[in-house]
Symmetry: none
Subunit: 407 residues, 2 copies
C-alpha cells in the first residue's frame, strides 16, 4: 500500500476521466455446492464484453478474512487506508440521514431502551418502538434538554434508533459507550477512551454527554418502554484529505442512499442529485460528465437482496445494472472500474470477507484471458488479488495521472 | 515484505549459485486491442522451455499503479525497499558516467542554461549545446572555480548536462534545487530541505553550492547561450548495507551501461568488465562463474527500443536475449530468475506501472502450468503477483540459503 503523501507527490495533471461503477456487496457464493454464484447465474452480456477488454481479478477490502462495514469498504475503494481513517458509528448514522455534519461536531448513535425501577437495562431496544414514536420522543428530548455552551441535535433514524450531535467549541470524540451490552446492569457513564489524543476536550465532551443522559432519563421517565437512552460511537468525522488534495481529482458521487453520498463527501466528493432509480443515476452521470474527472456511481440493491438472502433477486439486480453499461461506454471514459465495496453472499445474508470481483478497463490495462465478470472468471485474470486501497493508484496510472517515482 | 534484518538472521551458507537475468523494461502491452505484447510476439524457444520448468508470475516493482525509475526498480529487484533507500538524481547521474562516488561525496545533476541580462532563466537547457561544448565548459569551470575546504569535481555528461561532486568533511545532502522549473524567473538559492536530518551540515553544503553557482555565473558570463547553471538532486549516496552483509552473497554485476554497474555497486556488488555486447556479457558470466554466488546480468536494449516506441525492434531484442539462455543453463545454476526492473511498453514509449513478467527456475521451484515467458502465460503461473522486493528472499530460499524462522 502506497501512502497518500507518496501518491500526492506523483500526481500530474491530465485530461482523462475515471468511472468507478460500484455494485454494493456484489461478490457472492454458490447457494449449492458446485453451483453458480449470483454473478455467474446472472446474464450479463455487457459486463462480460467489458471484461474481455479489461484486466480482471479481485480486491480485498481490508485483509484476508476481514469483513468490512460500509465505511471501511468505501474508504479502501476510494484509496484511503481504512484502518487509519476510522469512521465512528455516530458519524456513519448521521451521514445515513443526510445530516450536514461539520468537522467540529461530535456525533453518537443512540438507542431508546428500557430500564427497571433500579435503573438497570432490561431491553436494549425498548421493544423496537415504532419510527413514529421515535420521532415523537426525539422531538420531546429536543424541546426539553439544554446543555451549556453547545448546540444540540437529536434526530430520529428508524424504530428505536436516533442520532445525537453536539456542536460547539473545544469538543472531542474518542469516548466510551454507555451501552453495557448486557441486561440487568445500569448504563455505563461515558468517559474518554484510555489513549484519547485530546484527553481534556474528550473529558469536557463526556461530561456534557453524561448531562444529556441524565436529563434524558428525567424527560423519559413516564415513556415506558422507551424510558432511557444508550449511546455508542461518539466521535468526530475523521480528518481525511480530499480527493482533490491527494489525487488532484474533481470527484463526484452518484448515489441514491444518503449514507453513500455522505461517505463520498467525507473524502471531498461533490454529491450530485441522483434521483431514486438506476436510470436516474446514469442520467446524472451523463449530465455531469463534462464537469468532473472522477465519478463514483453506487448501486445499493445488490447488497440489499444479498442481505435478504434472496439469491434470485440479487441476480436480477446484477442483470439490471448490466443493462446500463453501454451508456457508460458511450461516454468514452478513459478508465472504468467495476467493483463492489465488499461481498454480500445471499448464502450468508450479510457482508462477508470474500475478495470482490473487480475489473479495470483502459487503453493501457493489459487485458487478460478473463472473458466474463464473475468469481470464476476473475480467478483467471491478470490483476490477481490486490488490496482495495491500491485500486485508486492503479486507476490513476491507467488515466496517465501519475508520474514516475525516482530517477 | 520481510525487512533486511529479518532476512539477515536467517541466512545460512550454501555452495549454490543464483543468476538474475534482467531484461530492462521487458514487460509490455499489445499495440492493438487483443493483439500480442512484445514478449508474446517474440519467438523465444529457450525462454519458453525454461518457463516450463519454472514458477511463473509477476513482480510489482513498488506497489500497484506506481511507475519506478531505474533506481527504485533495481533496488527492489535486489531485495532493498525502494521507498526506504532513495537515490538522488545527482547520484544516479554520477553512477551513469562511472564516477567513483565515495560515501561522503555530495553529487548534483547540473544543466547549463541561458539567463537574460536580469539573470532570469530563458532556456533551461541552453539550447541543448553540443557534448563537445559541454566538455569545454566543464573544463573551464574546473579550472576557474575554487571552494574553500572541499575538493570539486565537475564532469561532463551529454549535451547540456553535467555532474557536480563536492568531496570533503562534514557535508550533507537533503538540499533543494536551484532549477525554478519555469522560465522568466532567476535560479533559486539552494537550501536544506525542511526535514533535513543534519541541518547544519546541509546548510554548510548549501552555502558551498551557492558559492559554486555564483562563481560559475562569473566564469560563464560570455558563454551565451550557456551562461548559467542549474542544479538538481544534490545528495549523498544512500547508506545501503551490502548484499554480502545482508544476504551473505558474493555478488557480481554484468552490465554494459555505467549506470547499472553503479546501481549494483551501491549494494556492494563487484562490477565486472562486461564489454559492449550481449555476447560479451555472457562471456563475462562464464569467466567469473567460479568466483561469485550471485550474478546480475543486465540487458539495456529491451528498454531502449520500448522507449523508442519501436515494438518490432523490442521484439528483436527479446529474441536476441533468448538465444543466450542455453549458455546460462549449461553452467548448471541452482537458481535462475528472468525478470525486468519495470515494464516499458512500446505503446507508452516510457517506463510504466505494469507488473513485470517474472519466472524463477530451481530444482525446488514448484513449477506450474505456464509454458511460456510472457504476460498471458505468467497470468496462469503459480507465483502470482508478488512485490519485486520479495524476489530476492525467494531466490535465496530456492538456493537453500535461508533457514527456518522460529522453532
Amino acid at each position: 500500500m502506497a501512502d497518500l503523501d507518496f501518491i500526492r507527490k506523483l500526481i500530474i495533471p491530465a485530461d482523462t476521466k475515471i468511472v468507478f461503477l460500484v455494485m454494493d456487496g456484489v461478490g457472492g457464493l454458490p447457494i449449492e455446492e458446485g453451483g453458480p454464484t449470483e454473478l455467474e447465474a446472472a446474464r450479463t452480456p455487457n459486463l462480460d464484453a467489458l471484461a474481455a477488454k479489461s484486466i480482471c481479478g479481485f480486491t480485498t477490502p481490508i485483509s484476508p478474512g476481514i469483513t468490512p462495514g460500509s465505511g471501511p469498504g468505501h474508504l479502501a475503494m476510494f484509496g484511503y487506508d481504512p484502518c487509519r481513517y476510522v469512521i465512528g458509528r455516530g458519524v456513519l448514522e448521521a451521514l445515513g440521514i443526510d445530516f450536514d455534519l461539520q468537522p467540529q461536531d461530535v456525533a453518537g448513535r443512540g438507542n431508546f431502551c428500557t430500564v427497571d425501577a433500579q435503573g438497570r437495562v432490561i431491553d436494549r431496544r425498548a421493544g423496537r418502538i415504532s419510527t413514529e414514536k421515535c420521532i415523537e420522543l426525539t422531538a420531546l428530548l429536543r424541546e426539553r434538554i439544554k446543555l451549556p455552551g453547545v448546540e444540540l441535535f437529536i434526530e430520529p433514524v428508524k424504530e428505536h434508533r436516533f442520532v445525537l450531535v453536539l456542536r460547539g467549541e473545544g469538543l472531542a470524540g474518542d469516548l466510551t459507550e454507555s451501552d453495557p451490552q448486557q441486561l440487568g446492569v445500569p448504563p455505563l457513564p461515558i468517559r474518554p477512551v484510555e489513549d484519547a489524543p485530546q484527553p481534556q476536550a474528550s473529558q469536557k465532551t463526556a461530561d456534557l454527554v453524561n448531562q444529556f443522559v441524565a436529563q434524558a432519563q428525567q424527560v423519559l421517565q413516564d415513556q415506558y418502554p422507551a424510558n432511557m437512552v444508550l449511546l455508542r460511537g461518539l466521535d468526530k468525522r475523521p480528518a481525511i484529505p480530499s480527493m482533490k488534495e491527494v489525487f488532484g481529482l474533481r470527484a463526484a458521487a452518484i448515489a441514491v442512499y444518503p449514507m453513500y453520498r455522505g461517505l463520498a463527501k467525507l473524502v471531498g466528493m461533490a454529491a450530485l442529485p441522483s434521483g431514486t432509480s438506476l436510470a436516474d443515476e446514469f442520467d446524472a452521470l451523463e449530465k455531469a460528465w463534462p464537469d468532473y474527472d472522477f465519478f463514483y456511481l453506487h448501486f445499493k440493491y445488490t447488497d440489499s437482496r444479498g442481505e435478504d438472502g434472496n439469491f434470485q433477486a440479487k441476480v436480477a439486480m446484477i442483470e439490471e445494472f448490466d443493462s446500463y453499461i453501454p451508456r457508460v461506454m458511450a461516454l468514452k471514459p478513459d478508465v472504468v472500474v467495476v467493483t463492489g465495496d465488499h461481498s454480500t453472499p445471499s448464502l450468508l445474508r450479510a457482508h462477508s470477507w470474500h475478495p470482490v470481483p473487480t475489473m479495470l478497463y483502459s487503453r493501457y490495462c493489459r487485458c487478460d484471458e478473463a472473458r466474463a465478470y464473475n468469481e470464476r472468471a476473475c480467478a483467471r485474470g491478470a490483476l490477481g488479488n490486490i488490496l482495495a486501497v491500491d485500486l485508486m493508484p492503479l486507476a490513476l496510472a491507467n488515466a496517465l495521472r501519475l508520474t514516475k517515482f525516482g530517477a
